[in-house]
């Protein structure tokens, strides 16, 4: 339950959050001020009305004399009238001698312990006969020549008057506190609005932008928001780069597709001018070859697009690398064998299982093997290794010079203009290895052979 409201708070707008967190301490402050005002009003009223008890008891004490064998008091009526204010309090008084015996009065009143500082007057709140009383006790001495007996004048009044005064004082401070609170409330809300104004500006600036522009934001913002703006600008820059890459890719792709299509068109036109069926057949063979290459190119373009789609969810499953490698050999062996390429496999007996997307690995292997065959290798070996799980494709072709190996990973980059490669194979493998968090390395199979050092492509998978 207690966790419920901070969670709800996180849904609040920044403005509300700011207001709430500013108003909570303000409310606390107001409550403290009100409690303080209540206590202060009570104290002030008590002080004012205790003066009456003081004056009345003094007026009575001044009339106390020693006469014959006891205390004698000529009670002044004004002393009692002094005790009753407009609130018409009930009034009580009593005179006690040194031994604490009741001498006179209209009600016995309790004694109070002597003050620590020796003050003559002591005050206390007492309940007597279900009636709340404010009691004042004055200790005094007879001021005579022959006797100086101690005596006590105790006076009491009911608290209606002081309660009324306290309520009046409290109402006055209540009004003050409320006015202050209202001003503070307005101030807080204005302050929150002004403080959040740059955020509003930023939001407006972003919302009002042309969705196609990726130019950086050039808004003047407070320090706290500059970071946000820089982060936004970085994101925009990345988007610009991605967009440039995509545009180049599309350009390259259309160029690549146009070439075989133009070839097909030219070949068909040439064949149509002839009437020899033998020529037609030659033309058809060539056109078939070109069409299948164009088709493969389109397929690779498609898979590259799919691989680069960040929103495509990858379905990982447990995949046996050995099984995949064997399947690849089974599928491509006869085709390569016809082309004079020897395809071999070296794999351990047990399964090498990693978490991966099977079709992507198959695609990668097929690309690597085709690549090797396209660039004139005569011997291609698939190798599977355990700990760490690695997939290696070796060939004895011309290889790639060290300086071009990174470039080779970019789409449409072809090391040599010979061969029937599309220039997409390594780019696809690179995308797949990145999607699997695997490390892709290229190096020569036998660096010693100068003419045909061969290429060894290693896909090292991270340990699960």
């Amino acid at each position: 339950m207690s966790l419920a409201w901070p969670i709800r708070l996180s849904h609040l707008s920044l403005y509300r959050r700011l207001t709430v967190w500013l108003l909570l301490p303000l409310a606390l402050l107001v409550a403290i001020m009100l409690i303080d005002a209540r206590i202060g009003a009570r104290d002030a009223a008590d002080r004012a009305f205790d003066r009456l008890l003081d004056a009345a008891s003094l007026a009575i004490a001044e009339q106390v004399r020693w006469q014959q064998n006891g205390l004698w008091l000529d009670l002044p009526a004004s002393a009692l009238e002094m005790l009753a204010t407009d609130a018409e309090e009930r009034v009580f008084y009593a005179l006690y001698d040194a031994e604490g015996h009741y001498v006179t009065g209209n009600r016995p009143l309790p004694a109070l312990p002597p003050a620590a500082d020796g003050a003559r007057m002591r005050y206390a709140d007492r309940e007597s006969d279900a009636m709340p009383l404010r009691l004042g006790v004055r200790r005094a001495r007879l001021a005579g020549w022959d006797r100086s007996d101690r005596f006590e004048v105790r006076v009491a009044q009911t608290p209606e008057g002081r309660e009324a005064l306290a309520a009046q004082l409290f109402r006055a401070s209540l009004l003050n506190v409320l006015v202050i609170a209202a001003l503070a409330l307005i101030g807080v809300m204005l302050a929150a609005r002004f403080a959040l104004e740059p955020l509003t500006q930023l939001r407006r600036a972003i919302r009002e932008r042309d969705p196609r522009t990726l130019a950086p934001l050039t808004l003047t913002l407070p320090r706290e928001l500059v970071e946000l703006r820089e982060a936004l600008n970085e994101l925009l820059a990345r988007m610009r780069r991605v967009k440039a890459n995509q545009e180049r890719f599309i350009g390259d792709a259309s160029h690549q597709l146009r070439t075989p299509l133009a070839g097909l068109s030219a070949r068909a036109e040439l064949a149509l001018r002839q009437s020899d069926p033998e020529r037609w057949r030659e033309a058809l063979v060539t056109m078939n070859d070109t069409a299948s290459r164009a088709s493969r190119l389109a397929g690779q373009l498609l898979s590259l697009t799919r691989l680069n789609d960040p929103e495509a969810a990858l379905e990982r499953e447990r995949v046996d690398l050995v099984a995949i490698a064997r399947a690849c050999v089974r599928d491509t062996f006869s085709r390569l064998h016809r082309g004079g390429v020897d395809l071999g496999i070296e794999a351990p007996d047990q399964e090498v299982v990693i978490s991966a997307t099977a079709w992507q690995l198959e695609e990668a292997l097929a690309n690597l093997v085709d690549n090797a065959a396209s660039y004139g290798a005569t011997q291609v070996t698939l190798r599977v290794e355990t700990t760490p799980a690695r997939l290696i494709v070796e060939d004895d072709g011309p290889g790639i010079p060290e300086s071009e190996r990174l470039l080779a990973l970019r789409p449409f980059h072809r090391g040599q203009e010979t061969g029937s490669g599309t220039g997409l194979g390594l780019a696809i493998v690179d995308s797949i290895s990145r999607a699997h968090g695997a490390r892709l390395t290229l190096h020569a199979t036998c660096p010693n052979r100068r003419e045909r050092p061969g290429l060894c492509v290693v896909l090292a998978f991270a340990d699960d």
């Binding site: 004399r65 020693w66 006469q67 014959q68 006891g70 004698w72 008091l73 000529d74 009670l75 002044p76 009526a77 004004s78 002393a79 009692l80 009238e81 005790l83 009753a84 018409e88 009930r90 009034v91 009580f92 008084y93 005179l95 009741y102 001498v103 006179t104 009065g105 209209n106 009600r107 016995p108 006969d129 279900a130 009636m131």
Partner: protein, 443 residues
């Protein structure tokens, strides 16, 4: 069908039958305690009850303890009964001290719902101790602030303290119209007026004591007046009716500090007398009404007090009784506003406030009475009592105490009312502690 029945359980004996009118008798003091107790007993014996029964089946009872004679109270109760036929009214007419004692006795389980008494200090003491309960009705809230305390205690009548003189006094001297003129007459002709001026004895009468305190608070020259009264050997009575009788019989020429409501009725039937509201200042007492906090029937009590504060009851007070009405909406003769118009600012209602508590303080009473006695007997020369002279005079021993239960708070450990001796000396003379209303409204 409404049925009202007036029943008087005991006929009250006229006060004068208890003995000769009293002048100051020193030996009385020694029996003060016993006298006070006997008075309590007398008061109990003299209780009157007026019952107005309701004809309605599920009638609600209402019990009123009052200090107001039936002839004055009757019109009010009948009118209230006519307006509220569903209430069974029981009105008990008691003496002031008796009423006070009963209320304190029944403190835990009160039997009365409403108290109504002119003994203002005693009523205030009960209310101050928390025995009353507030009334929040329209008429209660609109009641003049000078005539109420805390919405709990309401002064419903307005009765000035007056002077009465015989008309034939004018042949000898100009009749006094104010306190100052009375003092001047006494100082100018002390021998001519010897024994001819009568006033309350504050040592015997609670009413007289209350007026003495109020007089002394208003003017320091009051002590000159007491001294002059003593020099001319003024007669001291315990009740207004005794003073009026003496005036009517010709024994006294001038009466000072009489209750206006009684004097007014009496003077109306005795053409040889003239009533004067003093023009420098005139005290005015009020009958204080309160509802008891733990009243057995608070609903009917509320209706009755609300009725007393309403215009109809106040108009009735002004027209059919000699008590003055307080309600600002009621004008004409017999109202506080009419009296104010006649006398102006000189009218001084006894303030309903904690100052009344000082009146009931034992030591205060002893001090004031000692001072009064010294001024009257011409010993202290009317100066303020100093502790030394007071101790020489020994007033603490000699002065009588008021009935203990009436003076001290009920909360103070004091001899309970039941434990007081019930025997007394009724033959010692009329002793009224505070009984301004026990005299008949008409002789």
């Amino acid at each position: 069908m409404r049925r009202s029945r007036l029943c008087r359980r005991l006929r009250r004996r006229p006060l004068s039958s208890y003995g000769a009118r009293s002048t100051y008798r020193p030996r009385l003091w020694r029996h003060a305690g016993l006298l006070a107790a006997s008075l309590l007993w007398l008061g109990t014996a003299r209780a009157e009850t007026l019952r107005l029964e309701s004809a309605v089946a599920d009638a609600r009872p209402l019990v009123i303890y009052g200090v107001l004679d039936l002839p004055q109270m009757h019109p009010l109760l009948v009118d209230f009964h006519r307006r509220n036929p569903d209430i069974d009214i029981v009105y008990r007419n008691l003496q002031t001290i008796d009423l006070h004692a009963r209320v304190l006795q029944q403190r835990a389980v009160p039997q009365a719902d409403v108290l109504m008494s002119p003994a203002m200090p005693w009523q205030f003491q009960l209310a101050n101790a928390g025995l009353s309960t507030p009334l929040e009705t329209t008429s209660a809230n609109a009641w003049p602030t000078w005539a109420r305390w805390r919405q709990e205690l309401f002064g419903v009548t307005f009765e000035p303290i007056v002077m009465v003189y015989r008309r034939d006094l004018a042949a000898r001297m100009a009749p006094p119209r104010s306190h100052v003129e009375l003092l001047q007459r006494l100082q100018a002709a002390p021998d001519q007026l010897r024994g001819r001026v009568v006033t309350y004895d504050p040592r015997l009468s609670g009413a007289g004591y209350t007026y003495a305190i109020e007089d002394a608070r208003i003017s320091a020259r009051y002590w000159d007046l007491v001294q002059a009264l003593g020099r001319s050997e003024a007669a001291l009575e315990a009740t207004t009716s005794a003073m009026l009788e003496g005036l009517s019989e010709g024994r006294y020429w001038i009466g000072y500090n009489l209750i206006g409501s009684y004097a007014q009725t009496y003077v109306a039937n005795h053409p040889e007398l003239e009533m004067v509201v003093p023009q420098d200042y005139a005290l005015a007492l009020q009958r204080l009404v309160m509802m008891l906090r733990d009243a057995p029937h608070p609903d009917t009590a509320e209706r009755f007090v609300d009725y007393l504060l309403g215009e109809p009851a106040q108009r009735l007070l002004a027209t059919q009784t000699s008590l003055g009405a307080v309600h600002p909406g009621v004008t004409g003769t017999g109202t506080a506003s009419a009296l104010r118009d006649a006398v102006g600012e000189a009218i001084r209602p006894v303030r309903i406030g904690p100052g009344l508590l000082a009146t009931l303080d034992t030591l205060k009473r002893q001090a004031l009475l000692a001072q009064w006695q010294q001024a009257f007997e011409g010993r202290a020369g009317g100066s303020r009592l100093s502790p030394d002279t007071a101790s020489n005079a020994g007033p603490a021993n000699n002065l009588p105490a008021l009935e203990p239960a009436s003076i001290e708070s009920p909360l103070i450990a004091s001899p309970s009312i039941e434990s007081l001796p019930r025997e007394g000396h009724p033959s010692e003379g009329p002793l009224s502690l505070f009984d301004p209303t026990q005299e008949p409204a008409s002789p």
